[in-house]
Symmetry: C2
Subunit: 193 residues, 2 copies
């Protein structure tokens, strides 16, 4: 049973508000690829815009520039091994890195970018906003979210709702060298007035 439900665009930035490590996919000219990215963030809620660092040496960057877009998929804890693995091998070295690491993807609804649902808790399709200077100087790519969805067991009514019942869907936060912090325990701030 598939638990993914569309996320309203005004809530899309919340999917990465808490800094998860994500999978970036793209496809162009019969090729597709996936890489891991620890470095992404929202830059605007409305319209939903994000920034992500995609090294100019990567195959994914080449595909993103050619396609003018990408998908950002948020892996759950169950995908820790695959998330680390796709960050260690270049898409130029294997025919299809998604197949190589057991990731199944389908074309996204607006741009046709590969979106991963199995093992992930959310995804967004993003249209690149060309910003040549920051792409070159900082490998920082800006993009607008054009479609988003999330697993309703952990994200509903526009909010994350982590619970122990779905620990495999909790987000990963890369500390380095394959060690990830898992977002699980939550605290609610009290108002200091």
């Amino acid at each position: 049973m598939n638990h993914f439900r569309p996320v309203a665009l005004e809530h899309a930035s919340r999917l990465i508000n808490h800094g998860p490590t994500v999978l970036i996919t793209s496809a162009h000219g019969g090729h597709r690829n996936v890489m891991a990215a620890a470095w992404s963030m929202p830059v605007e809620f409305t319209p939903p815009r994000i920034a992500v660092v995609i090294d100019k040496k990567t195959f994914t960057r080449e595909l993103v520039m050619a396609a003018g877009g990408f998908a950002l998929c948020v892996p759950g804890a169950a995908l820790a091994d695959a998330t680390f693995a796709v960050g260690c091998v270049s898409g130029r070295e294997v025919p299809d890195k998604l197949v190589r690491f057991g990731l199944s993807a389908q074309p996204g609804p607006v741009l046709g970018m590969p979106v991963i649902e199995e093992g992930c808790c959310a995804w967004m399709e993003c249209r690149l906003i060309p910003e040549r200077h920051t792409e070159e100087a900082y490998d920082t790519c800006f993009a607008e979210v054009v479609a988003a969805a999330a697993d309703e067991r952990v994200f509903r009514n526009g909010r994350w709702a982590f619970s122990d019942a779905h620990a495999d869907l909790h987000t990963l936060h890369h500390l380095g060298a394959g060690a990830f912090a898992v977002a699980g325990r939550t605290v609610q701030a009290r108002s200091l007035g």
Copy 2:
């Protein structure tokens, strides 16, 4: 007893690699301020460079632009209430927001920006890299880290090492509306070869 130790600059980007919500401080012309920022990320390890979204309407942004720098402080779980609070009140409305919310700061070693150690697990002093277009279009400010330090109980040898013994120093990751995920449980990815 103070457990803060200097962090080598080549390891500084790791302090925010896993996407914690941070406190941004700045000081200029006899004024200082602090705000919360969920949206920051490294963009380079060497030299250590970061990007952070600082809304152009904020008092902090005004100070950052005037001072040409800021400090990024990483609050521990014990500061959840204060982290949420400083994001809800403008520094234009109170004489000193740090005092108002019980945050103690000292001048950083290179730029003299206010660095917070009590309740925090790490900080970095950052020199703004002027990028007028992205500052205006996306409120995204780029900066180079010029000094960094972390609490050795949770960050040592260039790596985060969270343990239950110091749960108050675990990082906060804002989910929205004052709810934070706390980075605690960690998983180590196995190599998929």
